[in-house]
């Protein structure tokens, strides 16, 4: 429980009266060990806290007559505060740059070279744009040390990291992560008004994150941006992760302020998850739901059988335990497959708002054989259900992030070198310790002579589209 009785923490804001030293953000993740350190850092805790806070806010709310207040895209039940409207103005300015910089019509490989120009324009104007749409007192917040940087240097780093790579002409979950950090940084700097839990969070999701995702989709289509670090069909999605978290929350069971975040079940009139393979349902739901808007975009850009180009999403659509179950899984998967992956987080810079310093409450993540790139142990997720100072017990590292004491289900214990899905038993003659899933039940696509076979690895998300070396800095 958080201090005010809510079963989810809220990202702490800076005390405006207390001295603070800003730090121009720099990359700190240079190898696999650094990823482990990141997973125990204050930055990791803050990012997960903010994401879980946004996630919680998108669950439908019980209202007195027994019905549920839902939070669909475009709802007028969510009022946008002045800062949220300002951020919309900022996004709209970025969209205007697309008009200024039409895609190059000359010969090309895939990614359109004009995106490099779009990025240059963005970089040139970034300071002015931030100044136009963010309050001066926020940008100019000084360091206690007279020669320290202002808040602007930190905000700008995450802002600039949010729009794909002008060099590689790609976009992936690392860039999405940077935008979440940009918003979380504004939150920390008291850039959003004080309000009851959920009010500003919902405005941020519906008023800023969804338009951001739409702008990204425009960029992807206009400039043929490659999926950063694409795993092809073996990733959740070529470019995005966050809409699957927030969109599954929109369809989860309604809650009161004090309810634990549901781990299964669905809102009564939510569509069946299997609806993602039916184009009429996708067309209907994508207008109001973040999960389906992301699915809809896949249909827009991909040609071929859905189960073949998106087997992970297809399998997830078979989950019978409801959107709450999907939501819980998506959060876990985000932590393991985005925040724990070297190729994704290596570009994330750390300053004072997102600090690489160790979080004293962090659980050390399991060490794994694939520390730098491959399948990896699931990291500890910040213990969102406990009070800010609660010392998590030894199981907390594998506990659902929203679990409160006594309410979480224990995940099976994992050997120190196992991949996340492993039943931890290396096969005979293996030189690398890899999961043996032979205990799993058979599946329909198993080859004829492997009747015991089934199960799949979680898809590693994102990367870079011309194949990047995973060890590349």
């Amino acid at each position: 429980m958080s201090a005010d009785g809510r079963p989810v923490r809220v990202l702490p804001k800076l005390d405006p009266g207390a001295p603070h030293n800003f730090i121009a953000p720099v990359k700190r993740i240079h190898d696999g060990q650094d990823v482990s350190d990141f997973l125990s850092s204050k930055a990791y805790t803050d990012i997960m806290t903010f994401l879980l806070q946004l996630n919680r806010s998108m669950f439908p709310t019980k209202i007195p007559d027994g019905a549920a207040q839902t939070w669909p895209l475009g709802t007028d039940a969510v009022q946008f505060s002045a800062p949220v409207r300002q951020l919309q103005g900022l996004l709209s300015k970025l969209e205007d740059i697309v008009e200024e910089v039409p895609p190059d019509t000359g010969p090309r490989r895939f990614g359109n070279i004009s995106f490099r120009k779009w990025h240059e324009v963005l970089e040139t104007r970034a300071s002015d744009l931030l100044r136009e749409f963010l309050p001066a007192e926020l940008l100019d917040m000084p360091s206690a040390d007279a020669d320290g940087p202002t808040a602007e240097s930190e905000l700008k780093a995450y802002f600039l990291g949010s729009w794909g790579s002008g060099l590689r002409l790609d976009y992936g979950t690392g860039h999405e992560l940077s935008f979440i950090a940009f918003l979380a940084a504004i939150w920390k700097l008291n850039g959003f008004p004080k309000a009851d839990f959920g009010v500003e969070e919902r405005a941020i999701v519906l008023g800023v994150i969804e338009p951001y995702l739409e702008l990204i989709r425009t960029l992807i289509r206009t400039y043929s941006l490659e999926p950063a670090g694409s795993h092809g069909v073996w990733g959740l999605d070529d470019h995005s992760f966050v809409p699957y978290i927030l969109g599954s929350a929109q369809f989860s069971p309604a809650i009161n302020e004090s309810d634990l975040t549901p781990e299964e079940g669905s809102l009564p009139d939510a569509p069946d998850p299997a609806g993602i393979t039916k184009t009429n349902i996708v067309e209907r739901e994508r207008k109001t739901n973040l999960y389906f808007s992301a699915i809809g975009f896949i249909y827009d850009v991909k040609k071929g059988p859905f189960w073949e180009h998106s087997p992970m999403l297809y399998d997830i659509s078979g989950i019978r335990a409801g959107w709450g179950k999907i939501n819980k899984g998506m959060v876990k998967m985000f932590s393991a497959e985005v925040l724990s992956k070297f190729p994704v987080v290596q570009h994330f810079p750390f300053g004072s708002l997102f600090s690489f310093d160790r979080d004293p409450n962090a659980i050390p993540p399991p060490t794994t054989v694939h520390a730098t790139s491959g399948p990896q142990g699931r990291p500890a997720v910040p213990d969102a259900g406990h009070g800010p100072t609660a010392r998590p017990n030894v199981d907390a590292g594998t506990k659902a992030p929203w679990a409160t004491a006594g309410a979480g289900t224990r995940a099976p214990p994992m050997g120190p070198t196992a991949a996340p899905w492993a039943t931890a038993r290396p096969g005979p003659g293996s030189t690398m310790t890899l999961p043996d899933t032979s205990q799993m039940p058979p599946g329909p696509m198993a080859p004829t002579r492997a009747p015991w076979a089934s199960t799949q690895a979680p898809p590693p998300p994102g990367g870079d589209a011309p194949t990047k070396a995973p060890w590349a800095k």
């Binding site: 092809g232 899984g329 998967m333 329909p444 002579r449 089934s454 590693p460 990367g463 070396a469 060890w471």
Partner: protein, 431 residues
């Protein structure tokens, strides 16, 4: 029917073979591959293919367009696995064909044929999903370590026999108007010629090089798919008789080096490639890494690669390398090209890409490159096993003529016949 033929039949139907059979197959494949040099010598005619990336149905389309094994000789330049849904089916089929018809199919290593890369980009996950354990992934990775790093194609003809389109499309004129020699031809998947270039036949050996280089059209060609442009760009009036002594000319066709990525600053001759100890995981740097990771780019000299491995290299590098090694062309894959193939640097290097609508979304066509056999010496070319191309006076690099190149362009296979499978158990995040 042998077990191997049965396995081929089963894999052609996109059905996997049992794990025990994969193990046996991989063992046999390694026995075969260990005998190959780092640079395999391959005689024309041969069809050169680029990345496949598990796009099994498109690989079947490739065989439909290019001819089946063993009727057509194939050289695949790596990246069989990762990203697509059917890396296992694709790679195991190619491996079966290699074991069954070792002289008809050549497989060289791509940067994705690596343990580290496949754990990041999908093949590992696919093996776990389809076989329930990492055993098959491990067997395949052991084969990867034995794949050759490159190939040299010898005995390609400098000219192409013009294709007669099957259709009666009268807008297509494939006949050279004068004695120009057909140098490049682009065919769509129906076998219709959509683009061609000519160079004049040479009068004598002394002016071979100057004629072809000076008069040929720019070879940075890349015809848009479906664009029927029967261009006859050979310079009229410059070709003399051409008859009678053609054989002497065509035998001068330079060798073609095939490699997945490109060149390396550590490799100035083909022979240096032969000195690499290749039977290992692809290193993060060094010559072997570069051959599999580098890309040509519009730069001078060498540049850093945005991929974080290998290098970028410019036209001067390619020209010098080809000249020193008596090569007329470097064929490589590794980069998506929307038109399926792309010639760069005055035709000194070509990228061939064989995965249409890459990742279900790129909207690109795919291509394969056919090099014809030089019939002038009775269809046989002395295998020179490494001696070829050395600066020993046998080949005067200055007179090397590029081979005639026939590109067959094709689109993604139709998908409507693939039924929807039952859902698999989800990853344990969702349990």
């Amino acid at each position: 029917m042998s077990d191997l033929d049965r396995a081929i039949e089963q894999l052609r139907a996109c059905r996997l073979i049992p794990e025990s059979q994969v193990r046996e197959l991989c063992y046999k494949a390694r026995e075969l591959l260990i005998e190959e040099g780092n640079v395999v010598s391959v005689d024309a005619p041969v069809t050169i293919c680029g990345d496949i990336h598990g796009q099994f149905h498109d690989l079947m389309e490739l065989f439909r367009v290019g001819g089946d094994v063993p009727d057509t000789n194939y050289l695949f330049m790596g990246d069989f696995v990762d990203r697509g849904f059917y890396s296992l089916e694709s790679f195991l089929l190619l491996l079966c064909l290699k074991v069954r018809y070792p002289d008809r199919i050549t497989l060289i290593r791509g940067n994705h044929e690596s343990r580290q890369i496949t754990t990041v980009y999908g093949f590992y996950d696919e093996c776990i999903r389809k076989y329930g354990s990492a055993n098959v992934w491990r067997y395949c990775c052991e084969v990867f370590d034995y794949l050759a790093l490159g190939a040299i194609v010898l005995g390609a003809s400098s000219g192409l026999e013009p294709t007669t389109s099957y259709t009666n499309d009268t807008t297509q004129s494939t006949m050279p108007i004068d004695d120009g020699e057909l140098e490049t031809e682009v065919l769509n998947s129906q076998g219709e010629v959509t683009f061609s270039t000519y160079r004049p036949r040479q009068r004598s050996s002394s002016d071979t090089s100057t004629d072809s280089r000076a008069i040929s059209p720019p070879r940075d060609i890349s015809a848009p798919p479906g664009q029927a442009t029967p261009s006859r760009t050979g310079a009229p009036g410059t070709g003399a008789s051409g008859d009678g002594n053609g054989s002497a000319q065509t035998s001068r066709t330079g060798a073609v080096l095939c490699v997945h990525g490109g060149l390396s600053p550590l490799i100035d001759s083909v022979d240096k490639i032969r000195l690499i100890d290749r039977k290992q995981e692809v290193p993060h740097e060094g010559a072997m890494c570069d051959l599999l990771w580098s890309d040509p780019d519009e730069i001078e000299g060498w540049g850093l690669s945005p991929r974080g491995a290998g290098f970028l290299f410019g036209s001067d590098i390619v020209k010098q390398f080809n000249h020193l090694n008596g090569l007329s062309l470097v064929a490589r894959a590794h980069q998506l090209v929307m038109e399926g193939y792309k010639e760069m640097f005055d035709g000194g290097i070509v990228t061939v890409w064989s995965a249409p609508n890459y990742c279900y979304r790129c909207g690109n066509v795919a291509a394969i490159l056919e090099l014809g056999e030089d019939a002038s010496n009775g269809g046989t070319v002395a295998r020179s096993n490494g001696e070829y191309g050395r600066s020993n006076g046998v080949v005067d690099a200055n007179t090397v003529v590029s081979p005639g190149r026939r590109y067959r362009v094709f689109e993604a296979a139709a998908q409507d016949t693939r039924g929807m499978p039952a859902k698999k158990p989800v990853a344990d995040y969702f349990l």
